[in-house]
């Protein structure tokens, strides 16, 4: 392959994906797509293998490849220029029903030369609960419209019968229609630009460049793996739903130039919709693998070749039809993300050369809270609490995690302003701020998560309802690395005001959970109201820490304390730091002594065990 032409074609392939993403965000004006960047666009080769993965929710890159392959199988002999297919069945390839894949073959001179696929989390999919996450669903049949593959555009003509059937099954069909239109526009741009590329360089040269690109990625990853130590690394992720505890157990084995992810140690499939199907787990392990091991390698089929996964059927990471999966993306898939992040991090940390690439877990636990109800203008609103896109960064081997800094599987995301939320929903925030002590302790501290509280405000119906899929309040999920502590878990509290006196009571401007009046009830799973003077309080997890907290620079601990992200209790008991009571200044010798004593206690404890 001529290196010059190769370099030019590679650059253009990246830009094609970029332009398609821009188109997707432009046409779909939704907050989830534009703020949360809950989307993905990628290019695939004629056989459906990943050619060029874009920056979006990364666990979709491989699942959409499987979706292309499923369409190739199902529609053999019936795939034409100008067709477009819709697929959202989790037991075929999708992650959950509300993430719809739209898949477009790319033809040139009547030859199938590639595919473009994209997804957005659609506004609604007709599942039991509005918004797509259905904590109360007991099987796939209650999780809304689902298709293993259907032709939605036939040789350039939109099949209105198909579209109308889908729209007939969802809440707010206009918004879903707009989502679908944005996916169509996105594929059109990708397809047209790809064809221009072929017209300019010829099919053979472009395909040659694509194959070279894939081979290069494979070679680069294999070379990197050979540089890393051989070994086995483990992670166990616990998720509690109501009273039940589920486990995603991973053993990652690295030998020579390949990696095996073995999830055999995982719980049987759950009656709750946190399960995920096979291709979802497969995608879930790649979401951290791409940025952690392939930050400088093109994300394509080549990166996939050295990787193997074992996920026994009937487990929470490979559930069987008709197990419910609507919460998968923030359930088992996210735990697969976390576990893979941890095992890869452990492997990287064991290498002098790659230690700097290791990270503790970022944002281990999404809190997909969907608000719905009548808004202050009299219309209906459904929307995700976009704060869930603002997780906390895990600590690195050289630096603290980024406070409220996002997540690894979705590198580009952001949350809405409070003013945007208050304009869209009849709510008033009491506070939204970083959460003290939520970051995992360590030589480098995990980034802190945050807390918020809001109350109804000007709600025509007196308030709203919300769907909460709040697993993981009992155990911390953002694992630390190399002795670092995990970040604090999530918490969701319904603060019941005293309804009888509330009418005349002055508005609450409480500045903390403690000062919010009323009894607090933990709500984690289901659909709940927020009415009258009641409040909802949400606290989200911090990132995992890195290294032993007793090794943390005491001055950094004091600075954290002064900034309000670490409490005095933690400073003293976890970090072993002593400060002068009145002035609050660091007591160096006192800290030395306290840390020595703490190490002594640890030794005794280990001896006792």
């Amino acid at each position: 392959m001529d290196p010059i032409t190769f370099s030019i074609i590679r650059h253009r392939l990246y830009r094609i994906v970029d332009e398609a993403v821009i188109t997707l965000k432009n046409v779909s004006g939704s907050a989830t797509t534009n703020e949360g960047h809950d989307l993905m666009v990628s290019l695939y080769r004629a056989n459906g293998s990943l050619l060029m993965g874009g920056v979006g929710f990364l666990h979709h890159l491989t699942s959409a490849a499987e979706a292309c392959k499923a369409i190739i199988r199902r529609f053999k002999g019936d795939i034409h220029e100008g067709d477009m297919f819709l697929l959202n069945d989790p037991y075929t390839a999708a992650l959950h029903t509300s993430d719809i894949y739209l898949i477009s073959p790319i033809h040139y001179d009547d030859q199938l030369v590639g595919w473009s696929a994209c997804f957005v989390h659609v506004y609604d999919i007709g599942a039991m609960s509005p918004g797509g996450f259905s904590p109360q669903s007991q099987d796939i049949y209650t999780e809304g419209f689902s298709s293993p593959g259907i032709k939605i555009i036939d040789r350039g003509e939109l099949r209105n019968d198909v579209l109308d059937t889908l729209l007939n099954m969802v809440r707010n069909p206009e918004m879903v229609s707009l989502d679908i239109r944005s996916l169509i526009a996105c594929n059109n741009v990708a397809r047209d630009r790809f064809r221009v590329l072929i017209r300019k360089y010829g099919e053979e040269i472009v395909d040659g460049a694509c194959m070279t690109l894939i081979d290069q990625s494979e070679q680069l990853l294999r070379d990197r793996l050979r540089e890393l130590p051989n070994g086995k690394w483990q992670s166990r992720q616990y998720m509690d739903v109501n009273a039940e505890v589920h486990r995603v157990g991973l053993t990652m084995t690295k030998e020579d130039d390949h990696l095996v992810f073995d999830f055999s140690d995982s719980s049987p499939e759950s009656p709750y919709s946190i399960n995920c199907a096979y291709w979802a787990s497969w995608g879930g392990l790649f979401a951290p693998l791409f940025p952690l091991l392939c930050y400088d390698i093109t994300w394509n089929e080549g990166v996939i070749r050295p990787i193997e996964m074992i996920a026994p059927e009937g487990t929470i990471v490979n559930c069987r039809r008709p197990a419910p999966v609507s919460v998968a993306t923030v359930g088992a898939i996210q735990s697969v993300n976390n576990a893979a992040c941890t095992t890869i991090g452990k492997m990287l940390a064991a290498s002098e050369k790659y230690k700097g690439e290791a990270t503790a877990v970022w944002h281990a636990n999404h809190f997909a809270i969907f608000l719905f109800g009548q808004n202050q203008r009299g219309g209906q609103s459904i929307g995700i609490l976009t704060e869930t896109f603002a997780g906390a960064g895990g600590a690195r081997s050289f630096a603290d995690g980024v406070d409220v800094g996002g997540e690894v599987p979705n590198p580009i995301s952001r949350m809405a302003n409070v003013e945007s939320m208050e304009a869209a929903f009849p709510l008033r925030y009491l506070f939204r701020r970083r959460m003290k002590d939520s970051g995992g302790a360590g030589e480098y501290r995990g980034g802190v998560g945050a807390e918020l509280a809001f109350v109804p405000h000007d709600a025509p119906d007196g308030g709203l309802h919300y769907v909460v899929s709040g697993k993981g309040t009992q155990f911390p999920m953002s694992e630390g690395l190399n002795g670092g502590y995990p970040g604090a878990p999530n918490s969701y509290l319904w603060v019941h005001s005293n309804e009888e006196t509330a009418g005349d009571a002055p508005l609450s401007f409480a500045q903390s959970l403690e000062s919010m009046p009323g009894e607090k009830e933990s709500v984690t799973w289901g659909v709940y109201p927020i009415m009258g003077r009641d409040g909802l309080y949400v606290q989200w997890n911090g990132g995992g820490g890195y290294g032993d907290p007793l090794e943390r620079d005491p001055a950094a601990v004091v600075a954290d304390f002064e900034e309000g992200v670490v409490s005095e209790w933690t400073l003293r008991n976890v970090y072993g730091v002593v400060i002068d009571g009145d002035a609050g200044e660091l007591d160096g010798p006192g800290t030395e002594a306290a840390r020595k004593a703490a190490r002594g206690t640890r030794l005794q404890r280990e001896a006792a065990e």
């Binding site: 990246y14 004006g29 206009e174 239109r181 944005s182 070379d223 603002a390 996002g406």
Partner: protein, 707 residues
């Protein structure tokens, strides 16, 4: 402005950049004099005076002669950008709504971590950080108060708490400036105003910026960030403009000092002084205005203005004579909200280093740059990495002997040696073929970038004329311009002083806006009730500045959006009539057409309803335009300017081919030159590819057409 036109015959425009300060003196006789001097940070005003003196010398005058004879001084300055980039601003505190103290540090989650980063940086998540904030956590004070989404004050401001906070910030934390940003203050600014009263009583020397004045728009994170940036750089900006005005006055100039804003209009220094954020990136904005001015003269309404020099590639788009404002402007990774011309800037230029990926041997151009120092290998200043400029020498585009009119000779042998060793040999290619390949890669990457920028705005590059500025752009524009299929290319004669043309051809422009949400349909009277007071204020302001009513222009625009959607589109109001229900309805129709054009067919979503969210007024006091000297056209034959022939890379021939070499200074207006050709000008090099024809127009712009 009392002196007669005869005595005051100059318009002076000075543009302060990071490295150089450029001045152009426009004589009402039509003569133009150009002066350049080094910028003098942090005392930029000294450099301005140096630069005026340099331009005066060109005119055979002294700085005093010029200043005494100047009727108007226009100015663009990088002082605010510099203050932020070097973190040289005031020690700044922030007072905000209790409960939301972390808003500025949290940066809407990951947003502040990835915004402004390249794709490679974004993919390398583990290596990413937020920039250090301009205001320390310990210098943020939350105070009890609350306004709701309707603008209703539902909790009184705790004035005692404010006083305590101010004392604490000023006395214990030694802050010099205080930013004030409360939730929903753009609907109700009473609490913010009260804070200023308290500060002026308790700590009168403290510089104060209110969010409701500097950026009265929704979105508390971006609004807070804007307010902090303004407080941080405010005193330096106002001191600078004060000093500059004094120095110009001491030099004999007593007319108005007009300062360029990022939105491409001028403000009197006295007003600009309070709006530091307005000066951010005002130099590049002046460049776009310069391009628009040129477009008006030669009849180009749709322009892609691309400027590529040694280190930076900047692109702005003018469509139908109008330009768009950036949607999410950033300065050094900090967000701010201020009307600012949308200009995309990336690190790419003649100094971009050419390298091979050590793992795959795939060649790449950039992102590293040799900058001005050590610069390209051929400059002989110690550069050891091959750059795009070195490659341009190797493919025959640059003539080593007459670079920049011979002010500098290029060391072609050194470039060849380094390029052979580091690029050609490892690729197993001849030097010529490898160099040609690198040129093709560079051109393709620029083409990709411009295509993406236009697509993002819903535009098609085929409808545009490319204006190529800078030392590097005219070398490559024949390659990427043809690839993009633009209508034609213009290499402006006045490219070197384009920003100064922009400064001198701009109006005094005041931007006003009112944030208010009105559902569609709304009563025309409700809309008039929003615009009328803004227009009254603007009229009074322009009258104060000495404008007659005949020289005032008012342009209204309304931001619309569809319900449940986040994209907002600024929709210009046609004509000056007050609103009636009819023309309000046609404004809504204009919005829908604009929306579909920008966001794509099928993106408009009428069913969710429409709303108006912001009402904007642009008030112009019309300024005089400089005259461009128009020469008579002569014959097409340009052979008198032919200086020789040499082999250059010609894309259409797949390799090196013989090209005619011309001296720009010997070409006459009307002359035509056919590609392949190279035209050496005193400031740049123009390369014509095969099937391209260059024609010198009456203003000595090189107009390149494709066959």
């Amino acid at each position: 402005m009392t002196a007669s036109k005869k005595e005051r015959r100059f318009v002076v425009a000075t543009d302060v950049g990071g490295t150089c300060t450029d001045t152009v003196i426009f004589d009402t006789s039509g003569a133009v004099h150009f002066g350049k001097s080094l910028s003098t940070p942090p005392n930029f005003a000294d450099g301005v005076l140096d630069s005026i003196a340099a331009a005066a010398r060109e005119a055979g005058l002294t700085a005093a002669d010029v200043l005494a004879g100047t009727q108007l001084f226009t100015h663009g300055s990088t002082v605010v950008d510099n203050t932020l980039l070097t973190r040289a601003g005031a020690h700044t505190g922030l007072i905000t709504t209790e409960g939301f103290e972390d808003t500025i540090h949290v940066t809407r989650g990951a947003y502040g971590r990835w915004a402004g980063q390249t794709e490679d940086q974004i993919k390398h998540v583990v290596a990413s950080f937020r920039p250090d904030p301009l205001v320390a956590m310990a210098e943020i004070a939350g105070v009890p108060e609350r306004v709701d989404y309707k603008g209703e004050a539902i909790r009184d401001l705790d004035e005692a708490a404010v006083e305590d906070a101010v004392r604490h910030l000023v006395e214990n934390r030694n802050v010099e400036a205080i930013a004030v940003c409360f939730l929903w203050s753009f609907y109700n600014d009473a609490h913010e105003k009260k804070v200023r009263e308290i500060v002026s009583r308790v700590a009168p020397d403290t510089y104060v910026t209110l969010s409701s004045e500097i950026a009265p728009v929704p979105g508390e994170y971006e609004r807070t960030s804007t307010t902090v940036i303004n407080a941080y750089a405010g005193r330096i900006a106002s001191d600078y403009l004060g000093e500059l005005t004094r120095k110009l006055g001491a030099g004999g100039y007593d007319g108005p000092v007009l300062v360029m804003q990022g939105y491409g209009g001028l403000l009197p220094a006295s007003e600009a002084a309070g709006r530091a954020v307005g000066m951010i990136e005002s130099g590049p904005a002046a460049g776009i205005i310069g391009s628009k001015f040129l477009g008006d003269v030669i009849g180009d309404q749709n322009i892609i203005a691309a400027d590529m020099g040694g280190t930076t590639f900047k692109v702005g788009v003018i469509e139908g004579g109008e330009f768009e404002y950036a949607r999410e402007p950033l300065i050094d990774r900090f967000h701010y909200l201020a009307p600012k011309i949308d200009i995309v800037s990336i690190g790419a230029g003649g100094g971009s280093i050419v390298s091979l990926d050590p793992r795959t041997n795939v060649p790449r151009v950039g992102p590293q740059s040799a900058g001005a120092l050590p610069g390209p290998v051929c400059y002989g200043r110690g550069g050891t990495e091959p750059t795009l400029t070195d490659v341009a020498v190797l493919v025959g585009y640059l003539d080593p002997a007459i670079f920049l009119s011979g002010e500098m000779t290029l060391d072609m042998d050194a470039a060849r040696t380094v390029f052979t060793e580091k690029i050609a040999k490892p690729l197993g290619m001849s030097v010529e073929n490898a160099a040609i390949g690198i040129m093709r890669i560079a051109a393709a990457q620029i083409s990709d970038l411009i295509h993406e920028i236009t697509v993002e705005r819903g535009l098609d590059p085929r409808d545009f004329v490319l204006h190529a500025f800078g030392g590097t752009c005219p070398i490559l524009c024949g390659l990427f311009g043809q690839d993009l299929n633009v209508k034609r290319i213009v290499v402006p004669y006045a490219a070197a002083v384009n920003c100064a043309f922009g400064l001198a051809s701009s109006d005094i422009v005041h931007e006003y806006s009112t944030t208010k949400t009105l559902q569609v349909p709304s009563l025309a009277n409700d809309v008039n009730a929003i615009f009328d007071p803004m227009i009254e204020t603007a009229k009074a302001q322009l009258a104060d500045e000495g404008f007659a009513v005949a020289d005032m222009r008012f342009e209204r625009a309304v931001d619309f959006r569809y319900g449940l959607q986040i994209h907002e589109v600024t929709t210009p109001v046609r004509g000056d009539d007050t609103f009636t229900d009819d023309n309000l309805e046609s404004l809504g129709a204009d919005f829908e057409a604009l929306y579909e054009r920008r966001y794509g067919k099928g993106s408009a979503f009428r069913d969710a309803g429409m709303e108006m969210t912001m009402f904007r007024l642009t008030a112009r006091g019309l300024g005089a335009r400089p005259e461009m000297i128009k020469e008579d056209l002569e014959g097409e034959d340009g052979s008198a300017a032919l200086t020789g022939r040499r082999n250059i890379f010609v894309e259409g021939r797949g390799g090196l081919a013989e090209a005619a070499i011309y001296s720009f200074e010997k070409l006459r207006p009307g002359n035509k030159v056919s590609g392949p050709a190279v035209i050496h000008t005193p400031i740049t090099t123009i390369v014509l590819q095969e099937n391209q024809t260059g024609r010198l127009d009456q203003y000595r712009n090189m107009i390149i057409e494709f066959a």
